[in-house]
Symmetry: C2
Subunit: 253 residues, 2 copies
Amino acid sequence: MTGRLAVVGLGPGDARSLTPEAAAALAEAKALYGYAGYLDRVPPRAGQSRHPSDNREEGARARAALEAAADGPNVALVTAGDPGVFAMGAAVCEAIEHGPAAWRTLDVAMIPGVTAMLAVAARVGAPLGHDFCALSLSDNLKPWETIERRLDAAAAAGFVLALYNPVSRARPWQLGKAFERLRRHLPGATLVVFGRAVGRADERLAIATLAEADTVEADMATLIIVGSAATRLIARPGLPPLVYTPRAGEVGP
Amino acid sequence: MTGRLAVVGLGPGDARSLTPEAAAALAEAKALYGYAGYLDRVPPRAGQSRHPSDNREEGARARAALEAAADGPNVALVTAGDPGVFAMGAAVCEAIEHGPAAWRTLDVAMIPGVTAMLAVAARVGAPLGHDFCALSLSDNLKPWETIERRLDAAAAAGFVLALYNPVSRARPWQLGKAFERLRRHLPGATLVVFGRAVGRADERLAIATLAEADTVEADMATLIIVGSAATRLIARPGLPPLVYTPRAGEVGP
């Protein structure tokens, strides 16, 4: 065993959602790696080196962190939300599988965190209150046809959907196509929640129906929840509505 | 506005996974409600009343907490994992929708937490590293046929599956049936992770193939992750293997 690599989930953005386990892993690290935008959330600490990188270089970032850990020091690789959900966890495992044998002897710890869909759901009620799927709309690494097939399967079977990576500058049309696809399976009144940067200063929430859901509500920092036909809205006087999916998960009698 | 109800996610069980936001909500509460087994994880505090209840009375527990909050004091309703994932969040929303109008004026805050599938996934690597579904195997509130339909749809479309509530004393056969069903769609070599009581003293992890997965590995405190055909295992000398699903989420070339 040489070094240690902790892949740390920072949660949705607010320091109040950082677990003590994650905070301890950050405090113990001699070197911090991560996308610059996420590293900025971690206050500087004496005796720690910082290695920010570009957002799109996941593989290179994972390998750099593993190389540093193999050299001996405690390394933390930071990621937003949870490392295991559309984040650096899988990229690190991929790098270990295809990298030098020494990387298989490293002490690798994944530190879980509150992933975006949980934070967005909590803000509006309990839209993930029953069976649900988490699906990335990015077709950078998988064919768009696979995404359409999964949208079809999930919506037709009555799962609520949490859509990660709905849009980026290089992927402007995918979300609109996804909404079109979902309209084949779900009533126009199906509830859609747009949650942007939840827990951060520029947080924005919007609730729409699938018939009227507009892709302009979404950017790279947005997580979208598309309800099932069973998902409901409770109007409240002077308060934002609650959106939830009943525990039975079926359209009620 | 009368009182406040915080529905607090305790995370998987270890105090190191309790977020500062959840800890603050517990500290501010005048009355604590929850299943006795979860309430036991919250240290007693002077000036706080405690109202433990039985595990199966979710609706009654939600109504009792809402009634107490409507009387004025700050109330916290504790739940394991995340309140929005197969926990009390949806039960509270149901109670509000069908309860007295005054409950719609309450300040209801859902405090997210690390749900079991994230904790189990982190322990073994990144099996949820690509598109996945979360599905409850409990047929207490939905027909078993609905569960089979969702197992079929999710497995056939290439989602990884996180199975909540796999077995209980009253539901002994459902998990075996679910494995049978999944074997129709997935290779026998598909990886299955059993994660029991992760983060607690009696934690137990097991990795099997779908062909050999045995329901005796599971009890009420177990969360099961069934990989897709793309999910992989990395053997490591002297260390537990890593299980992960590549970011492409497809069977590799």
